[in-house]
Every structure is written in C-alpha cells, then in structure tokens.
Amino acid sequence: MNRPRTWPAYVALAAGALVMIAPFVWQIVVALQTLPDSLRVPPKFTPSWQWSNFAEVFRTVPLARQFLNTVVVIAAVTAGLLLLCSLAAFAFARLRFPGRGGIFTLFLAVLMVPGELFLIPRYEIMVDLGWLDTLQALIAPGVFGAFGTFLLRQFFLTLPRELDEAAQLEGANPLQIYWHIMLPLVRPGLLALGLLTVMWSWSSLLWPLVVNTDPEMMTLSAGLASLRGQFQTNFPILFAGAAVASLPVIVLFAVMQRHLIAGIAFTGSKG
C-alpha cells in the first residue's frame, strides 16, 4: 500500500504545537524580566535574566512550605484513594452481597453530581472538627471517590472467575484474595487512577482555597491564586511562582506519559 504524504500533517501539528507551548515559553521569559521590561509596549520577547524574581517569590510567600504541603497532601490522598477505592471496587466486582446493585447505582448517581454540591456540607464538617487551616482538611475529603471505584471495578471485572474459585479452594478469605491475587493483576488500573489523582489534586483550587486561608497551610495552587492578590500586575514575580508550580507535574508527566495516556484512553472506552 502506498503511504499518503505526511508532510502536511507535520506542518499542521507543528503549528498547533507552537500555540500549545508558546504561553509556557513566554511565561519563563517574563519570569526572568524586570518589572518595567515586562510592561513594555511593544512587548519585549527576550529575558533580562532577572533571577532574583525567583528569590523574591520564595521570600514573600512560603512557597517551599506550600510545595511541601502539596506533596504531602497528594501522597496521602493518592495512597488513601487507591486503597479505599480498590477495596470498594473489589467488593462490587467480585463479591456477592445483598443490595450490591442498589448501592452501585447510588455510586453511579454520585458521579453525576458536581463537586460543589458537597463543598458546603464538607466545609461545615471541617468547621465542626476544628480542621480549618490544617492539612487533614485537604486530605480527608479526597481519599475516596465514586469515579475511582467505578474505574477500578471495570478492571476487576475483566479478571476470570476461576481465580476466585481456585483461591477459595485453597482456603483464602476475600481479603487475602483481594490483596494477594487481585490487586497485583489490576496494577495498570491502579497506576492510571493514581496518575489521574495526582494530576487532579495538583490542579485542584476551589476546595483548598476555601478551607485553608493561612498561607502556611495552603497548597501551591491556592498559594499561586493568592499571590495574584499581592502582586497584582507584577508579572515577573507571579510567573516565577507559576513556573515553580508548573514544572514538577510537567516533569512527572514527561516520565509517565505512556501510563497516564493509557488511563485516560481507558476511561473513554469503558466510561
């Protein structure tokens, strides 16, 4: 079969890719400009190597602390979510118990509900627990989710029945079957859900913004948003902060892209 010409596709893709990355390049350039340079008309498209912007943003906001907060929160949320969702998904997919269908329908219904609906009740619970301005306020609501349960259930469903039966004959209880037999087999699902969770918690803004108003307890996302209030149009400083906040996940994605893409494609085919 003769191959169609590929150069028009390259040209179109390259033009599109330029639109995709130009804002990032521009952000880095401005992060290295002086304030007057960043406000020039027409715009100055080259950096002035003002590295002190980075020092300045670390000095005025507890960026290192917020970075640490973000990492701790994401690690806890992802670990908790993977454990709890896989347990629930295992139960829905592999165990028979009264009310299974009904409870699962409820789970599916929750998928339709926008997160904002839970926000105010959750906020009031945090108030009652005295958890405002704490890291557990950012972790607790994130450690379980209907989506994760649904996604992992699809993975558990693909495993053959004979596995459970053989393990039962050997005298394994459900928890042992879950941990020793099933969990290793759904690793691609766990990896995909884990990466999606990392990506979403990294980006999440509204909840961190309302529960933690103390800069020391903020995540990077909320910290960056509040930076805007402090620096208004001081874009070099803002962008130094933005660059610091963007880089880690970009690096993570570059390393793990194959798995993340597979996970997203999977949600499309099975969702």
Partner: protein, 259 residues
C-alpha cells in the same frame, strides 16, 4: 490553629424553607451567571472539532514523533489552572499583552480581553479550549485507533479520497467517542471556576460578563458568607447538569452510531 470558635454547625443555620431558591429566581447576578456559563459551555463545545482534527493528524499512518507531539499538546492539561490563568491574563492584557501585539501586526485593534464584560467570556473560553484540546485528542486518538484499517483500504479501492474517507468512515465510527467527549466537556464547562478566578480581577467590571455559576457560588458562600444561598446555587447547578445531560442522551439516538 483553627480560626473558628463556633459551637456547632446546626446552631448557625435557621430553617428558611424555599427562601434561598426564590431569592435566586429574581436575582440578576444569578441570571447573568447562568447566561455566562451556558455561553462558555457552548464556546468550549465548539472547540471539540479541533481535538478531532489533531487526533486525526496524529493518526496519519507513518507519522514519526507521535509521543513528542502528544506531550506538547498535553502540556496545558497537566499544568495547574492557577498558573495557566495567570499566564493568559498577561497575554490577554489590552495594553502590553502579546496577543494584541500580534493582532496589531496584522492590522487588528484587539479589545481589552479580560477587562471588557462583552469579551471576557470569549477570552476565558479560548483558554478553556486550549487547556482541554490535548485531553480530548487523547480520547479521540484512542477511538481512531480502534477503527479497523481495512475499512480505509476498502474505501481507497473504491476510489474515495482521504477527505471523503474522513467524513464517511472516520467521523461516523468516532461518534461514540465524540458523544463521550461532548458530555464530559459540557459537564466540566458548566463547573468552570479556576480560569475566571485567575483571569478576571475581583473588582473588574468584566466580571458581570464572565461570572459563572460556580464563581457566584464561591462569592456567595465564602466571600459574602451566605452559605445557604450558595448551597441553593449548587443544587440549581446539579439540576442544570442533569437536564442538559439528559438532553444529550436523548439526542444521541439521532447521531451516535454504535456498531
């Protein structure tokens, strides 16, 4: 330390029946937010075909460097919206922004994108499309790769050109994916908050033209501390999402082809 010394949640609320909902019915800001949100969702949905085109380009047989392109298109998806919003607010600046500078080069006098209530929602939608193209393209690419190659070979033998193949084979076979993407994109768009919060100043007059439902929810609940009213807004949002999703599922019979 926790900043609240309030005794209990229940004590802070009084039963008001449906008062919060009736308040919202006559509320100009609520009506404005509903209109802005629907316009935003429509604009972002109009950007979905772009993702199909990019997926189709990435699916061209013999294309090299697929993973490089995929990474570049995916960058905006993995970048936190807070950073994205800040960057675009700068690019869209009416006076010193790069976008108006580029428009100026081709003789167009660009508007005050993020300062003008009539334009702001379009600027936000452009960023919304920009940051979701990569995600949707990945879904479409997965859909494209599941189309059997022999369909195209048969069509080529019958003398169908590539453009004709795209419209007669690719698009119809892609409709289940398209349906999924449209529903997900719509539901996400109806909940937009981050980009508005980062791109529009809290005191900007542009807010009247770009305040979305979730933005209003945030303002009422956590700036003005009217949590009951905010909760009512969230319930209305749920209703809106359910109704529009139900309509999508009704309409799917007319255009989605399942094998």
């Amino acid at each position: 330390m926790a900043r609240s010394a309030r005794a209990s949640t229940a004590a802070a609320y009084t039963w008001v029946g449906t008062a919060n909902f009736t308040d919202l019915l006559g509320d100009e800001e609520m009506a404005g937010a509903l209109g802005n949100t629907l316009l935003y969702a429509a604009l972002v949905l109009a950007g979905v075909p772009l993702s199909i085109v990019i997926a189709a380009l990435l699916n061209v047989p013999g294309l090299r460097g697929l993973s490089v392109y995929r990474t570049l298109y995916f960058l905006p998806v993995v970048t936190m919206p807070a950073a994205v919003g800040l960057t675009w607010r700068y690019l869209f600046n009416g006076d010193f922004g790069a976008i108006n500078h580029l428009l100026g080069l081709v003789g167009i006098d660009g508007p005050y994108w993020v300062g003008d209530p009539d334009v702001a929602i379009y600027a936000i939608a452009i960023v919304g499309i920009w940051s979701s193209i990569g995600y949707n393209a990945v879904l479409f690419l997965a859909g494209l790769q599941s189309v059997p190659r022999h369909f195209y070979e048969a069509a080529a033998i019958d003398g169908a050109g590539r453009l004709r193949q795209f419209f007669r084979i690719t698009l119809p076979l892609l409709t289940p994916t398209t349906f999924f993407v449209v529903v997900i994109t719509m539901i996400n768009a109806l909940q937009v908050f981050d980009l508005v919060y980062l791109m529009i100043d809290t005191t900007s007059p542009a807010l009247s033209g770009s305040r979305t439902i979730v933005y209003l929810f945030y303002e009422k609940g956590f700036v003005q501390n009217q949590r009951g009213l905010a909760a009512a807004i969230a319930v209305l949002l749920l209703g809106l999402i359910l109704v529009l999703t139900a309509i999508q599922f009704r309409l799917q019979k007319k255009w989605v082809h399942y094998e």
